[in-house]
Subunit: 424 residues, 2 copies
Amino acid sequence: MGIVVQKYGGSSLSDAASVKRVARRIVQAKKAGHDVVVVVSAMGDTTDDLIDLAEQVSPRPPAREMDMLLTAGERISMAVVSMAINDLGFSARSFTGSQAGVITDAVHGKAKIIDVTPGRIVSAIDEGHIVIVAGFQGVSGDTKEITTLGRGGSDTTAVALAAALRADVCEIYTDVDGVFSADPRIVPAARKLDRVSYEEMLEMAASGAKILHLRCVEYARRYDIPIHVRSSFSTLEGTWVIDPADTKEEDMEHAIIAGVAHDRSEAKITVVGVPDKVGEAARIFETLAGVEVNIDMVVQNISAAATGLTDISFTLPRADGQTAMGALARLQEEIGYEKLLFDDQVGKVSLIGAGMRSHPGITAKFFSALASAGVNIGMISTSEIRISVIVDENQVEAAVQAAHTAFDLDATEVEAVVYGGTGR
Amino acid sequence: MGIVVQKYGGSSLSDAASVKRVARRIVQAKKAGHDVVVVVSAMGDTTDDLIDLAEQVSPRPPAREMDMLLTAGERISMAVVSMAINDLGFSARSFTGSQAGVITDAVHGKAKIIDVTPGRIVSAIDEGHIVIVAGFQGVSGDTKEITTLGRGGSDTTAVALAAALRADVCEIYTDVDGVFSADPRIVPAARKLDRVSYEEMLEMAASGAKILHLRCVEYARRYDIPIHVRSSFSTLEGTWVIDPADTKEEDMEHAIIAGVAHDRSEAKITVVGVPDKVGEAARIFETLAGVEVNIDMVVQNISAAATGLTDISFTLPRADGQTAMGALARLQEEIGYEKLLFDDQVGKVSLIGAGMRSHPGITAKFFSALASAGVNIGMISTSEIRISVIVDENQVEAAVQAAHTAFDLDATEVEAVVYGGTGR
């Protein structure tokens, strides 16, 4: 049997008892004949506690030192998981990101993995050990400084190690049963997906589904690593994130729509009355890039011929709202726009499915469902396999429910009730 | 000006406020024109908390993983001290033991430093940074595994770095004002020593004085690094631990007796009725070495000619008492001794001073003082500059006080009172 990479998040490692539970789970995989490499996040609230400590000491801690501090969190969890495994009679060895050969660029706080050189891991596997690796961290190839990978970093560590070790699968253990067709807190009839393609998972991650981070899925797609997202609290099969072309099952169900995602972390800015001249839009977005604000959706209306003015709206992370407004305000005289509007009471609802390519009419059906639910659409953006709309924040739930039902995503056992409720 | 190495212990780094206070102190040294290298222990109770966590997970955590776990403690404190310095407008860089080039043997939990290769430290100093180094930890030269140095490890790290960097001084910051002539909790008239020689400090450390660890003093003597033990809560001069030959002051006070140390951590075992034959004592102590019990004092009585039997008494760490008794019990038939006596209600009181060599009569005066105080002597052992006695545990305080007074160690301002109290 081959190598299995497992990743356990902080919510699966909240205390000594859960560390022991995870250890038993790891040992099961070893007993089943696999070579097992485990990636761990920091236990429970450790990372938040360390951030609190840093904030008490300094309002602007240097990023290099912040990385030194935060990497202590995974160091603690990898050591105790290893201890718990040894206590079950199996031999485990823990390794930091640096020791595991996770080589990154030198950008502290959000480093990117540029190479994995897992020589020590391979040796430890060959010696029969279960290997525990600290997620979220690496070492800069140039500066030899310790780095962290930023949000979703432990998932990315797991997939990158799985790729470097040519593992059979990368299992991402979490506190839910898998990837759902919508957030079950909003749609009680949401279904666990048995399979989802890399490209659909990418769009879902980019559209606010928090279960897997974008970078981790990109990495898995590039190296064709099957991800199995599953619960650390049950032995049920979870969701496989794979390339559909890899599956040999002829009768694999190809749903047209994989799911409905939503995101409440964005805000909308509208630049009103921009002179409709070449280069004005470029000036605006260059300015935002200059202050490191990432833009998501952009809409520009056709200019009214009479005035020669146009409006440009875009969405951005809420946390960057004041930075962006400040930078644009400094640009008013130069560009000569009329005014800026800021709205942080918005939400994004996205319909995602590879079947969109071959099935016309999806957009019409989606918008019709939203209309029937009384949801007003503010902005629209699409990709080949995704349709996203910006709506009022307080209409997000209604929009997600309406879309979920309209595309027959509701679970069978409650189908009748839900269909009745929406009337379509 | 040259390099100053400073070491701050956990009691000086108990919370964010004390971290900031230490940072101000470090910056003062930098402002005074020194290149500053700081060695830190884990903050406050961090190490104990991590040990508790390990014990919750496993009753017998592997030493390698324990080292991985515990080294997180200094990693946290070095990062936050560095942040606090940066916040004061000075540039600081933190380094783990491994990054600082602290090369050890491969004995987890009590590794010995075998080399220091401080290339990164030197570069950081040359770039103008204040350097913060995690104490207590290193990396094995052979196995590349992370190691910890055991008790007193951070002091040893500081002295080893001071030696490798050819520092002018190694300042050990603690929560008391320096090295005292006796424990001030027992002898209120105990005096802070301005200077003490390496060899006296070694004997004091070996005799129970907890202020500096034996290994740290050994390292300082070997490389002739002046240690300045001082309080992190005041700017007073503390105690200089030096080679008296290095001082140019003709009038340096050479006290005959440096101080009185005591130790309540030992127990006494007596093997009664051992046949007085060649090799029996060796058998006993080989057995104890085999179960890794370290012996301190040993006394063998001359055998009574009539019986051909002798008694052998020795002291050992109390924590090893049951291990030693078990090992010896298994030896009874082979050796044929009569019985074993175990006494953990003992204490050791030691008189230490380089002047003993040239001043006869010290032993007589010491024993006489103990007799006057009604203290019964159980065992005696001596070195060139030390006399140690084992007494009943509840007579330790009286013995320390009597010796301190008899050798004129009491501070001047309370001299009359104390002399009156002891009657000599």
